[in-house]
C-alpha cells in the first residue's frame, strides 16, 4: 500500500513531522456543509428557468462546524454524541470518502474501516472469488491477497467452504469472512462504527483479541458507539460531538460523565 513518492509529497511530509509530532489524524478547523435545494426540481428545464429568475433557494446543513481534533499514534479514541451529531461525517472524512467543505484533514497511514465488512460480496461467486473481490475493494493488490489468503481463510475458519458460492453461507459465516478480510493486514488506523458483534461468542472474542493485538502493535483506533460502557472500557480519550460541534475532548470517563449529565437534562 505504499504510494509512489512524488517529491512534492515527501517535502510535505517532513514539514508535517516538524509541526505535529506523532499525530496520525489531524482535523484542522473542519466544516462540512451540505447544500440542499429547498425544493426538488423535477426537470432541468424548470431549474434553468427558476435559476435565471433567481428563485433557487438552498438550505445549508452544517454537519460539522469548525471542528479541530488530533489523534495520536496508538490511541484508542472514542466519538460520542446523539444521532445526527456528525460522528459518521467525521469518520467519512478520515476514511477519505469525502473532503471537507472547509478546513484540512491529514491522515498518516493506511486506514481500514470496519464499516465496510463484506463490501461488494456477491452471492453467486465462490468464497475464494469474494475474498479477492472484497480485498481489492479494500485496496489490496492481487499479489497481497495471494499472500494473505491462507491466513484469511484460517482466521475465518472457512477452509472447507472456499469453493462454495456465497449464497450457501450463513450470516455468521459471511460476517466472519468479512472481518477476516478487513483485518487481514494490520492497518495504521482502524475505524470501528459501533461495537463489533461478529458471529458467535467464540469468534467475537477472537476478533476482539485481534483488534487488541493491533493496538499493542501501535495501531490507532477510532471508535464510534452509543454504548458508553464499551467506550469507557476501550478508549483512553474521547470527543463529544453535538450538532456538528465539539463540546468536549478529554479523558473518556470525564467526557462520558458530562455527556450523561447533559443527556439527563435534555430528557428531563
Amino acid at each position: 500500500m505504499s504510494l509512489p513518492t512524488v517529491p512534492e509529497i515527501s517535502t510535505m511530509t517532513s514539514a508535517l513531522e516538524m509541526q505535529t509530532g506523532d499525530d496520525v489524524v489531524i482535523l484542522e478547523d473542519i466544516t462540512v456543509r451540505y447544500r440542499v435545494p429547498r425544493e426538488r426540481f423535477r426537470t432541468f428545464k424548470e431549474f434553468v428557468i427558476r435559476r435565471m429568475k433567481g428563485q433557487v433557494q438552498y438550505i445549508e446543513l452544517l454537519a460539522l462546524n469548525h471542528v479541530s481534533l488530533q489523534v495520536k499514534k496508538g490511541e484508542v479514541f472514542g466519538l460520542i454524541g446523539a444521532n445526527g451529531a456528525g460522528k459518521t461525517t467525521l469518520l467519512r472524512l478520515v476514511a477519505r470518502v469525502m473532503r471537507p467543505t472547509q478546513g484540512r484533514v491529514i491522515v498518516r497511514g493506511r486506514v481500514a474501516p470496519l464499516l465496510a465488512m463484506g463490501a461488494g460480496f456477491h452471492p453467486e461467486l465462490t468464497g475464494r472469488e469474494n475474498v479477492y473481490l472484497n480485498g481489492s475493494l479494500l485496496g489490496y493488490t492481487r499479489q497481497q491477497i495471494d499472500e494473505l489468503f491462507d491466513q484469511i481463510v484460517e482466521f475465518a475458519e472457512l477452509r472447507d467452504f472456499m469453493n462454495a458460492p456465497l449464497r450457501t453461507y450463513s450470516s455468521g459465516m459471511l460476517a466472519r469472512l468479512g472481518f477476516a478480510v478487513a483485518t487481514a493486514q494490520m492497518p495504521d488506523i482502524l475505524i470501528v462504527d459501533e461495537v463489533l458483534s461478529v458471529g458467535d461468542i467464540a469468534f467475537q472474542e477472537k476478533s476482539a483479541a485481534r483488534i487488541q493485538q493491533f493496538c499493542k502493535a501501535g495501531a490507532t483506533v477510532l471508535l464510534v458507539s452509543h454504548d458508553m460502557g464499551s467506550i469507557l472500557k476501550m478508549c483512553g480519550r474521547a470527543a463529544w460531538l453535538n450538532h456538528g460541534e465539539i463540546v468536549q475532548v478529554g479523558q473518556a470517563d470525564q467526557v462520558i460523565r458530562q455527556f450523561e449529565i447533559f443527556m439527563e437534562v435534555e430528557a428531563a
Binding site: 505504499s2 451540505y34 471537507p100 491522515v107 464499516l115 463490501a119 475493494l137
Partner: protein, 288 residues
C-alpha cells in the same frame, strides 16, 4: 499459536512500509491524482470485470451464450423488417446490420452502466475510499469483453450468408478501444452532470435511443440526401461505428485520415469526461 505467529509477521511487514499520507488540502492536479489512484486499484478493476462476467455466466443456464444470442435476435428482427418490409437493398444486410449493432450496443450499454454505477452505486463509496473512476472503467471493461464475445455470432452469420471474412478483423480491437474511450468519456461527463440534475441521467436513456437513429447502423450514409449527410458527420459515433464496420464487415483498412479523426474523437471525449469528472468528483459524496 499459529494465529499469533502469523500476526507477528503481519505486524512486522506493515511496519516496514512507507506510510501513505492523505492530505485533503492536496487537490491540485486532480486529473493526474485520480489517474494514479485508478492505476493503483487496477487489480480491483480486473476483479470487478471478472465478477460481472462470471456472475452473468453463473446465473443462467445459457450463461455467456446470451451475450451472443441477444444481438443475433435483434439482427434477425431488424433484417426481416428492413429487407422485407422497407425493401432495403444493402448487400449482405444481416451481417451489415449486426456489425453496426454490436458496436452501438456496446456504446449504449457501457456508457449507461458507467453512469448508473457512478450515480446509483454509492453505498459502497459512502463507506470506504475507492477511486470512483475504477467503477466506471470496469463497466467499460465488462462491455469490451461482451463486445469481443459478440464477434463470434457476427463471424458465424458472415460465414452462413457467405460474406467474405477479412484479416482486417484482427485490427478490430483498436477500434474497440477507441469506442471504449469514447464511451468512458460520455459516461463520466453525464454522471458528473447527474450530480446536479438527477433527471439528466434519465434523459440520457432517451437521448441514446434517438442517437441510434442518427447513426448509420440500419442504413448507409449514402442512402441519405446529400445535405443531410453533412449534418450527420457532426455525430462522432458515425465515424467510430464506420471505423469498426470497415474493419469487421467491409474488410477495408481505413485511411490514415480516418484513423487520426477517430483517435482524436475518442481521446477528446475521454479527456473532456475525465477532466470534468475529476474536477467535480468530490461532489459525489455530498449528493446523498
Amino acid at each position: 499459536m499459529v494465529q499469533f505467529e502469523s500476526m507477528a509477521i503481519l505486524t512486522k511487514k506493515s511496519g516496514i512500509e512507507n506510510k501513505p499520507i492523505y492530505d485533503s488540502a492536496q487537490r491540485r492536479l486532480m486529473p493526474l491524482l485520480e489517474a494514479r489512484e485508478a492505476w493503483r486499484y487496477r487489480d480491483l478493476i480486473y476483479f470487478l470485470v471478472r465478477r460481472d462476467v462470471t456472475a452473468r455466466y453463473k446465473r443462467s443456464v445459457l450463461g455467456i451464450a446470451w451475450t451472443m444470442l441477444n444481438p443475433l435476435g435483434m439482427m434477425i428482427v431488424l433484417s426481416i423488417v428492413f429487407s422485407q418490409v422497407f425493401r432495403v437493398t444493402i448487400k449482405d444486410y444481416p451481417a451489415f446490420v449486426l456489425s453496426g449493432l454490436i458496436a452501438w450496443t456496446f456504446f449504449s450499454q457501457a456508457s449507461s452502466a458507467a453512469i448508473s454505477v457512478l450515480v446509483w452505486g454509492g453505498d459502497l463509496m459512502q463507506r470506504i475510499y475507492i477511486p470512483r473512476s475504477a467503477f466506471a472503467i470496469s463497466a467499460i471493461g465488462t462491455g469490451l469483453i461482451n463486445l469481443l464475445l459478440s464477434l463470434v455470432p457476427l463471424i458465424v452469420v458472415m460465414v452462413v450468408i457467405g460474406t467474405p471474412l477479412h484479416m482486417t478483423i484482427l485490427l478490430a480491437p483498436i477500434a474497440m478501444v477507441l469506442l471504449g474511450l469514447y464511451s468512458l468519456g460520455v459516461g463520466l461527463l453525464i454522471s458528473t452532470i447527474g450530480i446536479y440534475f438527477a433527471d439528466v441521467v434519465e434523459m440520457y436513456a432517451i437521448v441514446v435511443m434517438a442517437w441510434f437513429y442518427i447513426t448509420p447502423i440500419l442504413y448507409t450514409l449514402d442512402l441519405l440526401p446529400a445535405n443531410l449527410q453533412g449534418w450527420l458527420q457532426l455525430n462522432p459515433m458515425v465515424t467510430l461505428v464506420e471505423l469498426f464496420r470497415s474493419l469487421v464487415f467491409y474488410g477495408k483498412i481505413p485511411s490514415l485520415e480516418n484513423w487520426l479523426i477517430s483517435i482524436g474523437i475518442a481521446l477528446g471525449m475521454f479527456l473532456i469526461g475525465w477532466l470534468v469528472f475529476t474536477g467535480k468528483s468530490d461532489e459525489f459524496a455530498y449528493r446523498t
